[in-house]
């Protein structure tokens, strides 16, 4: 069973159409990885769906790197 970190990495990779191995966990989504606001919303929605959680809109601006995204998700995953 992959851990949360691996799962979120794969989920992000699918949405931003990159190989998971290419994603530096501290690379900036917007500047380095070509993520746009629609993809950020997709990432948020995909994490909510996968873990059956609800993340408030205010947290969206904190999804700037893979590590940050994992940290935000961990706040809500029981």
């Amino acid at each position: 069973m992959p851990g949360v970190e691996e799962e979120i990495k794969n989920l992000v990779a699918t949405i931003i159409e990159k190989d998971p191995a290419e994603i530096n966990p501290d690379a900036n989504f917007f500047k380095d990885l070509g993520v746009d606001s629609m993809m950020a919303l997709e990432i948020l929605a995909a994490i909510e769906k996968k873990y059956k959680i609800s993340i408030p809109e205010e947290k969206l601006t904190q999804l700037t790197t893979l590590n940050q995204t994992i940290a935000v998700a961990r706040e809500y995953i029981k």
Partner: protein
């Protein structure tokens, strides 16, 4: 129920591109059920296809997108102005049965996630008791 006058207060689209005729059900931010009546007089049938009229899938998606605007609007209450521009960002769709003149498309949209600057929704279009199209749409609002 919302009639066409009510719909035009919410949607910016107009003739010949207003693809929702009526809203049957509206649960604020949770669900919209809308109707598109498909007439043989639709301009697009002249070319799609001559002698073999089928509603273009892209226009089924557009009708779903317009129903989604009504859903988004209801979720935001009074804060959304009509001058907003709605831009489709993602479409994942499966077309299951063709739509012909005389069909009534029943479109149901439900949110996956709605935020103040956009939304992701699940949409289903049905006609003659069959599914015509299932789609997930993502759009942003500017």
């Amino acid at each position: 129920m919302l009639n066409i006058e009510d719909i035009q207060k919410i949607l910016p689209q107009r003739y010949p591109f207003l693809l929702i005729d009526r809203i049957l059900e509206l649960e604020e931010g949770r669900k919209v059920v809308a109707v598109k009546n498909v007439s043989v007089n639709e301009d697009f049938f002249a070319g799609h296809f001559p002698g073999n009229p089928v509603m273009p899938g892209a226009l089924i998606i557009e009708a779903m997108a317009q129903a989604s605007i009504a859903l988004f609007h209801s979720a935001q209450g009074q804060t959304v102005e009509n001058e907003k521009v709605y831009l489709l960002g993602t479409v994942k769709a499966r077309f299951l049965n063709p739509v012909f003149p005389g069909d009534q498309l029943r479109i149901t949209v439900e949110p996956v996630k709605i935020i103040s600057s956009g939304a992701i929704v699940n949409a289903l279009a049905e006609t003659r008791g069959q599914e015509a199209c299932r789609a997930e749409l993502g759009f942003s609002v500017k």
